[in-house]
C-alpha cells in the first residue's frame, strides 16, 4: 500500500528520519559520555578524591602530603595516585614540539590496572630519585617515534633534559580521559618543593577501591583521615575535608545537566515528528476508510486490520530509522568537530551496536506513538456508512478532534523547545556581552615556559630573561604595549594564595582568607586595558631589592577593606618564600577582571611584580596596533631565541580565542537546542500546514456552499485562520505553561537571564504565531479561490 502512495511514504520517512536520527546522534553522545564504562578494568572501583574547604562551594585539588597520608591510612582504598597536568618540549631547535602529559605518582599503573604494551612502568623507588624516566602513550610513540621497536631504553630530550623511555602504553590508554595526554612522568622529581608543602594544593587524586568497599565507605573513611590531618596540621588543613566520588560521576557530572537538557529536547523533536506522521496517517486513514470497510465487510477482523496498519507504520519507522542512522552518522561528525573540548570522551562517539539497537527501539516506540491511534480509529468503521459515502471518504468529527489534538501537542512541544533555545540564545548573548574587565581584541599571548634544566630554582636568571625579553618585545613593530602575567585570565590556570592583613588580628592557622594571586611583568595592565583606579602601577622602584609591593583589584578592596582605602595597607602572603614572607604594601588598585570564565563574577585578586615574584612560566601579552600583524610571530620567536636559543616558542594565541574556548560549551548547548528548536518549528509548521491543507481539501464542497450563499474570499480566509488559530492558541497556552514550569530545570545553564524571562516567551509566542499564520495562510488561499460552481459539482 505504501508503494502506491510514494509521496506520503517519502514525507513520513523523512520526518521520522529527522526525529529518530537526531535521537540516535544524541544517544551516541550519551552512550560515549554517560553510559559507556571507563576504559579500565573494573571501572566501578575507580574513585576520584577532592577536597573542600569549609564555607566554599567549589571542590579543590589537594596537596602531596595529604595524598600520601590518605593513601597510607585508608583501609578501603587499594591504591591511590596523584597527578597534575604537565607539558614538556620534545627535542630542541627547529624540530622541538610541545607534548602535553601528566606528572604522576607510580600508583597510576596499579590503579588503572593496564599493563604497558612495551617495556615497564616506573616504580615508587624511581619516583623518589631523580631517575628521569618517561612512559609514552601509544599515540605518541606512533606519531613522534614512528613506532620505533627499539624505543625502550632510548634517551629522548624533554625540555632539554635527557629522559629514558621505559615503557609504551597500549593504544587508547590515557589519563585524564578527554584532554590531550601524551606521556607520564614521575611527579616528585618535577616539583620537588611543592610535594613537601602541605599548603600547596595542586594535585588531583584518583584511586581504586578494595573489592569489599564502596564509594560511600571510602568517602567516610577519607573524611575521617582528613579530620585527623586537620588536627595534626592546623596551619594548612583547618577546614579542609577530602571526599571520594565515583570516578565516572566525577568525569561526567559537569556535563550531565546540559546533556539531559539536550536529550529532553531531542525527544521532544521525536514526539513532534511522530505527531506529524500520525496526522498524515489520520488523513490517509480517512481516505482509506472505504478500503478498510470493504476489508471488514469481506470478513477481516479488527485485529487483522490493526495489525496490517501497524505493520505499515513499522515499515515506515524502520525506513525512517535507517535514514535517521545515516543522518546521525553525518551528525556525529559535526558533533565531534563543533563539540566543546571539555566534554569528556566526545571523540569516542560513534554509531555502534548499542546505538543501532537504540535506533530500532526508537523506531518501534515511534510506531506505537504515531501508528496505533490512527489504526485503532480507522479499524472500527461503520461499514454501511463508509461504503455509502463513496470513494471520497468521510471526515469524522473524531478524526478532526484527533488531528486538532496532534496540532496542539506539536505547537506545545515546539513552544517548549523554542523557549529553551531562546533562553540559551539570550544567555549566550549575555555571556558574550559580558565585559571581562579588559579589552581582549588585538591582544596576542604566548605561553612561555623556561626549561627546568636551565632555569629551575634560579629566580635571578628567570628575572633576567624576562626583563630582557620585555625590553625586546616592547620595541617590536606594531606592538603598542607588552607585558606578562601568570596565570593568564582564560588560560585555564588559576592560582590562589592565602594571606592576612597586617595590623589586624591574625585569624589563626587555616583561617586566613584566599585571593587570586597573579604575577605581572612590564606593561601588563596597559596591554590588557585594565584601568588603574587608585594609586600607582608597578615601575622601576619595584625591583628585586625594592620594598615588596602589591596591587589589588576592586573586589579585593570591597571584600577585605569594605570598599575603603586600601592604599598603604599591607598584606602578608602565606608561604611566600620569594618575598621572604615580608608584608607587601598595596600601592595601586585596578579594575576587576574575570579569570576563569565570563560567567563567573570577578573575585578578589592581588598582583605582585615579577621582579619580586619571578617564575619559570609567564604568559606574554602583546597589544598590537592591528588585528593581523604579518611576521609578528616570527619577530617574537626571534626576540625570544635571541636571548636563549633553547627556548621552545609556542604559537601566538589571540586572547579572544582563549575566551572563545570558555564559551564553547554554552555555544554548543545553544547551537544544538537552537537546531532542534528550528527542526521542531519546521515540523510543527508542516503539521499545521498539513492539517489545514487537508481540511481545505476535505471542505471544498463546504467552501463552495458558503461562497454560493454569499461568503466573500475574505470571509473564507478569516474563517480558516480563526479555526486554525483557535487550535494553535490552545497549543501555545499549554506550551507556555509547560515551558514556564520546566524552564527552571535549565537554570544552571543560564547566565544573566531569568528562566521566566518575559521577552523570550513573548518572542517565542510571536515566532510560533507567525509560523502558524504562514502555515495556515498558504492552504487558506486555496479555499479563497474555490469556484462554487466546481465545488458544488465536487461529489
Amino acid at each position: 500500500m505504501l508503494a502506491k502512495t510514494p509521496g506520503f511514504a517519502i514525507i513520513a520517512v523523512l520526518t521520522l528520519a529527522l526525529g529518530i536520527g537526531a535521537n540516535s546522534a544524541i544517544f551516541s553522545v550519551i552512550d560515549a559520555v554517560l553510559l559507556r564504562p571507563l576504559p579500565f578494568p573494573k571501572p566501578n572501583e575507580l574513585i576520584a578524591v577532592w577536597s573542600k574547604v569549609q564555607g566554599d562551594t567549589e571542590r579543590e585539588t589537594g596537596s602531596f602530603p595529604d595524598y600520601a597520608d590518605i593513601r597510607d591510612q585508608s583501609q578501603t582504598v587499594e591504591s591511590l595516585f596523584a597527578f597534575t597536568r604537565a607539558a614538556t618540549v620534545l627535542g630542541s631547535g627547529s624540530e622541538a614540539r610541545e607534548l602535553l602529559g601528566i606528572a604522576v605518582t607510580s600508583d597510576i599503573f596499579r590503579v588503572l590496572s593496564i599493563p604497558p604494551l612495551l617495556g615497564r612502568t616506573f616504580t615508587q623507588d624511581e619516583e623518589k630519585t631523580d631517575a628521569r624516566v618517561i612512559v609514552l602513550t601509544y599515540e605518541t610513540w606512533q606519531r613522534h617515534f614512528n613506532r620505533d621497536p627499539n624505543i625502550i631504553g632510548r634517551e629522548i630530550l624533554c625540555s632539554l633534559r635527557a629522559y629514558t623511555v621505559i615503557g609504551v602504553m597500549p593504544p587508547g590508554y590515557r589519563y585524564p580521559i578527554g584532554p590531550r595526554c601524551e606521556y607520564f612522568m614521575p611527579l616528585q622529581q618535577l616539583v620537588p618543593d611543592s610535594v613537601k608543602n602541605r599548603s600547596s594544593h595542586f594535585l588531583r587524586f584518583v584511586g581504586r577501591l578494595k573489592p569489599s568497599a564502596n564509594v560511600k565507605q571510602a568517602s567516610a573513611e577519607i573524611s575521617a583521615v582528613s579530620g585527623r590531618m586537620e588536627q595534626q596540621f592546623p596551619d594548612s588543613n583547618t577546614g579542609r575535608t577530602y571526599y571520594a566520588f565515583s570516578l565516572h560521576h566525577d568525569l561526567v557530572g559537569d556535563v550531565r545537566p546540559a546533556l539531559l537538557t539536550i536529550v529532553s529536547a531531542v525527544f521532544l523533536v521525536l514526539l513532534i515528528a511522530c505527531a506529524n506522521v500520525a496526522n498524515l496517517l489520520l488523513a490517509r486513514a480517512n481516505q482509506r476508510r472505504r478500503e478498510i470497510a470493504i476489508r471488514a465487510a469481506l470478513g477481516a477482523g479488527r485485529l487483522r486490520i490493526v495489525t496490517q496498519l501497524f505493520t505499515e507504520g513499522l515499515i515506515l519507522a524502520f525506513l525512517g530509522a535507517c535514514t535517521g542512522l545515516l543522518l546521525a552518522w553525518w551528525g556525529i561528525d559535526l558533533l565531534r568537530v563543533f563539540g566543546p573540548r571539555d566534554v569528556p570522551r566526545l571523540d569516542e562517539i560513534q554509531i555502534n551496536g548499542l546505538v543501532i539497537v537504540f535506533t530500532l527501539i526508537a523506531a518501534v516506540i515511534s510506531t506505537l506513538l504515531f501508528a496505533v491511534f490512527p489504526a485503532l480509529q480507522v479499524s472500527r468503521p461503520n461499514v454501511n456508512e463508509s461504503l455509502q459515502e463513496g470513494s471520497r471518504g468521510a471526515v469524522g468529527r473524531e478524526s478532526h478532534r484527533a488531528r486538532a489534538l496532534l496540532v496542539i501537542a506539536q505547537v506545545a512541544l515546539s513552544m517548549l523547545l523554542l523557549a529553551g533555545a531562546g533562553l540559551l540564545i539570550k544567555s549566550f548573548g549575555n555571556l558574550r556581552a559580558t565585559n571581562p574587565g579588559f579589552e581582549p581584541s588585538r591582544v596576542l599571548t604566548i605561553d612561555l615556559a623556561l626549561p627546568r634544566a636551565k632555569y629551575a630554582d634560579l629566580p635571578l636568571k628567570q628575572h633576567e630573561f624576562f626583563e630582557r625579553l620585555d625590553d625586546r618585545l616592547r620595541t617590536l613593530p606594531g606592538i603598542e604595549a607588552a607585558g606578562g602575567v601568570t596565570p593568564l585570565p582564560f588560560s585555564g590556570n588559576d592560582r590562589a594564595s592565602s594571606f592576612w592583613i597586617a595590623g589586624r588580628p591574625d585569624p589563626g592557622p587555616g583561617n586566613h582568607p584566599n585571593a587570586s594571586h597573579l604575577t605581572v611583568m612590564g606593561d601588563y595592565f596597559r596591554a590588557m586595558h585594565i584601568p588603574l583606579l587608585a594609586g600607582r602601577g608597578f615601575d622601576s622602584r619595584d625591583g628585586r631589592e625594592g620594598v615588596p609591593v602589591a596591587m589589588v583589584n576592586e573586589a579585593f578592596v570591597k571584600k577585605f577593606f569594605d570598599g575603603r582605602n586600601a592604599l598603604g595597607r599591607y598584606i602578608i602572603v602565606d608561604h611566600a618564600e620569594k618575598t621572604k614572607d615580608r608584608p607587601l604594601e598595596i600601592v595601586g588598585v585596578v579594575g576587576n577582571t574575570r579569570h576563569e570564565s565570563l560567567a563567573i563574577e570577578p573575585i578578589p585578586e592581588f598582583y605582585i611584580p615579577f621582579a619580586q615574584d619571578p617564575d619559570r612560566r609567564m604568559y606574554l601579552v602583546l597589544r598590537t596596533s592591528s588585528e593581523k600583524l604579518v611576521g609578528l610571530e616570527n619577530s617574537a620567536r626571534v626576540a625570544i631565541q635571541d636571548i636563549d636559543r633553547d627556548i621552545y616558542v609556542p604559537h601566538l594565541e589571540p586572547l579572544e580565542k582563549l575566551i572563545g574556548i570558555t564559551l564553547a560549551q554554552p555555544r554548543f548547548n545553544m547551537m544544538l537546542l537552537g537546531a532542534f528548536a528550528a527542526v521542531a518549528l519546521t515540523l510543527a509548521a508542516i503539521g499545521i500546514y498539513g492539517v489545514i491543507a487537508y481540511t481545505v481539501t476535505q471542505r471544498t464542497k463546504e467552501f463552495g456552499i458558503r461562497m454560493a450563499l454569499g461568503a466573500q474570499r475574505r470571509d473564507m480566509l478569516q474563517m480558516i485562520l480563526r479555526q486554525s488559530f483557535s487550535v494553535v492558541a490552545i497549543g501555545l497556552g499549554i506550551g507556555l505553561l509547560a515551558a514556564l514550569a520546566l524552564a527552571r530545570l535549565m537554570t544552571s545553564l543560564l547566565y544573566g537571564v531569568s528562566a521566566h524571562d518575559f521577552s523570550i516567551y513573548a518572542l517565542v509566542l510571536f515566532v510560533l504565531s507567525i509560523a502558524a499564520l504562514i502555515a495556515s495562510y498558504l492552504p487558506a488561499r486555496r479555499a479563497m479561490n474555490v469556484d462554487p460552481m466546481v465545488a458544488l459539482r465536487y461529489e
Binding site: 468529527r397 464542497k701 463546504e702 456552499i705 458558503r706 461562497m707 454560493a708 450563499l709 454569499g710 461568503a711 466573500q712 470571509d715 469556484d787 462554487p788 460552481m789 458544488l792 461529489e795
Partner: protein
C-alpha cells in the same frame, strides 16, 4: 427583471477548438415569473442557472439584472448584487453537515452584514414560517431528505432575495416530499418571488408559469 442577450458559454478543447455549453441565449424573465428550464443532461441547464446566479463569470454577451448591466460589473460587484438579490436551492441540499439547522439558516445572514439581533430575529421568523422550530438544534444528518430541502429553501430565501434559483430541487426526494417542495415554491411565487428552476420532471415543470427547453446549449 432579467434580460439575457446573446449569452454564450464555452470551454477550450485545445488546438483553438471550443466546446459551447450555451449558444446565443436570449431570455427575458419578468418579476414574479416562475420559469422551469428543462432539457436532457448536458443541455446547459445548470450552466444557465449559475450564470443567472452570477457564480459563473466565463460567459460572453449581455446580462441585465433589473437595470444593472451585470456584464459590466466586476467580480466583487457581482458578488454584492448576488448576495442582495439571489437565493439558491440545490439538488443535494448542500446543508453544512457540522452546523445545526439554526446555524445553517444563519450562514447567509452572517455574510450580509446583519447585526446579531437582526439575524436572530430573521432566523426565528424563518423557523416559524417553515414550521421547523422543533428541529432547530438538529444536524442535517438527523433530518429526512424532505426536511433537509425544506431547510435548504428556508436558507435560500432568508435574506429576502428577489430571485430564487433552484437546481433540480426535488431530484433527491421521493414524490410526496417533492410535491411539498413544489407547493412551497408555488406559494413563494404567489407571494411575489421570481423563481427559475431546473428540472427533469414534467410534473414539477408544470408548477411554473412557463417552460424553457434547452438542447445542446440552444433554447429550442
Amino acid at each position: 427583471m432579467i434580460r439575457l442577450h446573446n449569452i454564450e458559454r464555452s470551454y477550450p478543447l485545445g488546438r483553438g477548438q471550443m466546446f459551447y455549453v450555451l449558444r446565443d441565449i436570449d431570455l427575458d424573465i419578468a418579476a414574479g415569473d416562475f420559469v422551469s428550464v428543462m432539457g436532457p443532461s448536458g443541455a446547459g441547464k445548470s450552466t444557465l442557472l449559475h450564470i443567472l446566479g452570477m457564480h459563473d463569470h466565463g460567459w460572453t454577451g449581455e446580462y441585465f439584472f433589473d437595470e444593472t448591466a451585470v456584464h459590466h460589473l466586476k467580480s466583487k460587484e457581482r458578488a454584492t448584487l448576488r448576495n442582495e438579490q439571489v437565493g439558491f436551492v440545490f439538488q443535494q441540499y448542500h446543508l453544512l453537515d457540522d452546523l445545526t439547522v439554526y446555524e445553517n439558516l444563519d450562514i447567509p445572514l452572517s455574510y450580509r452584514h446583519y447585526s446579531k439581533s437582526e439575524r436572530a430575529a430573521l432566523v426565528a421568523d424563518s423557523l416559524d414560517r417553515f414550521q421547523i422550530v422543533g428541529k432547530k438544534d438538529l444536524y442535517p444528518r438527523q433530518l429526512s431528505g424532505g426536511q433537509q430541502q425544506l431547510v435548504g429553501v428556508a436558507r435560500a430565501i432568508i435574506a429576502s432575495p428577489k430571485l430564487l434559483l433552484a437546481d433540480e430541487p426535488t431530484g433527491n426526494l421521493h414524490s410526496s416530499q417533492g410535491e411539498e417542495i413544489m407547493e412551497l415554491f408555488r406559494r413563494l411565487n404567489e407571494e411575489g418571488m421570481t423563481i427559475v428552476q431546473v428540472t427533469h420532471s414534467e410534473k414539477n415543470a408544470s408548477y411554473g408559469k412557463r417552460i424553457i427547453q434547452l438542447r445542446d446549449g440552444w433554447i429550442v
